[in-house]
Amino acid sequence: MLRIPCPWCGVRDESEFRYRGDATRLRPSAEAGIDAFTAYVYQRDNPCDWHSEWWLHVAGCRRLLRVVRHTLTHEIRSVEPAADALAAERAR
């Protein structure tokens, strides 16, 4: 079982969260076309490595978090608010 350190609520059990999918895929712009949206919705890597994921803390703060987790060891390297993660993403 994962224990996710929520930036607002502290370390909480996985059961308090809802997994919301791959956070490496960002929604394309409205005019990006079917191929771009198909990739956004369906195409996923399956890395044996660090992976970014969205987790929504439904039983706590109800904030969306970007969790960087190792898919083999389940080690969690970072947890940050979605807004911060996206701002950093845009800055890059």
């Binding site: 607002w8 609520c9 909480r12 059990d13 059961s15 308090e16 039983a59 706590g60 703060c61």
Partner: protein, 197 residues
């Protein structure tokens, strides 16, 4: 012969007392980048908003900060709509004021066995060193969302009203081995007797 045991002798005294709490609940949700404005406004009204994870008490009112940038304001019951309208107009520019008096059902728990009982449903660490008086947290218990607060005068639980009966049944069944006593209602004023932060 054996090492220290986990269990205590059967306790025939009340291990946990449970009382319903009649209360009006208004949720104040700060608008985007208006949190400081809301805090200043609340302070002017004599109700400082606590930091996330804490409870504040003032003027017979409890304020719970269980979610970021949101506060639950608990006060004695007034006629329908009165509590809301006093906030709605005051904070329109900086916050949404949402009436949740009917949405949430409040229980007050006290007694030496409260932590033992809550540990049978609550995944949080409620050890006195980890969850000190004045703490509040949103979590789930018995598969139901709950806002759990520890006050000097006991524990306060807010659960959705549609599952209140389910929660109460779970609580009663879980608490019975510890000596469960149903008590008469308590008031917000009696719980907000002293500031906890």
């Amino acid at each position: 012969m054996s090492g220290p045991e986990s269990t205590t002798a059967p306790d025939t005294r009340a291990g946990i007392t449970c009382a319903p709490l009649a209360v009006d609940v208004i949720e104040l949700a700060a608008r985007r980048e208006r949190t400081q404005v809301l805090k200043a406004l609340a302070a002017r009204r004599g109700l400082p908003l606590p930091a996330l994870g804490w409870v504040a008490a003032a003027r017979s009112t409890l304020v719970l900060a269980a979610r970021p940038e949101r506060w639950l304001v608990l006060s004695a019951p007034a006629p329908p709509g009165v509590a809301l309208s006093s906030w709605r107009s005051a904070c329109a520019a900086c916050a949404a004021a949402i009436e949740l008096s009917s949405a949430l059902s409040a229980l007050h728990l006290a007694g030496p066995a409260v932590r033992d009982v809550l540990a049978r449903g609550c995944r949080l660490d409620l050890h006195p060193a980890a969850f000190v008086p004045g703490s509040t947290a949103a979590t789930s218990m018995a598969q139901v969302p709950v806002v759990l607060s520890m006050l000097p005068a006991g524990w306060l639980l807010l659960t959705p009203s549609s599952t209140a009966r389910h929660f109460r049944e779970w609580l009663t069944a879980t608490a019975t081995p510890f000596g469960f006593v149903s008590a008469a209602g308590v008031t917000v004023a009696s719980l907000s007797g002293e500031s906890t932060q």
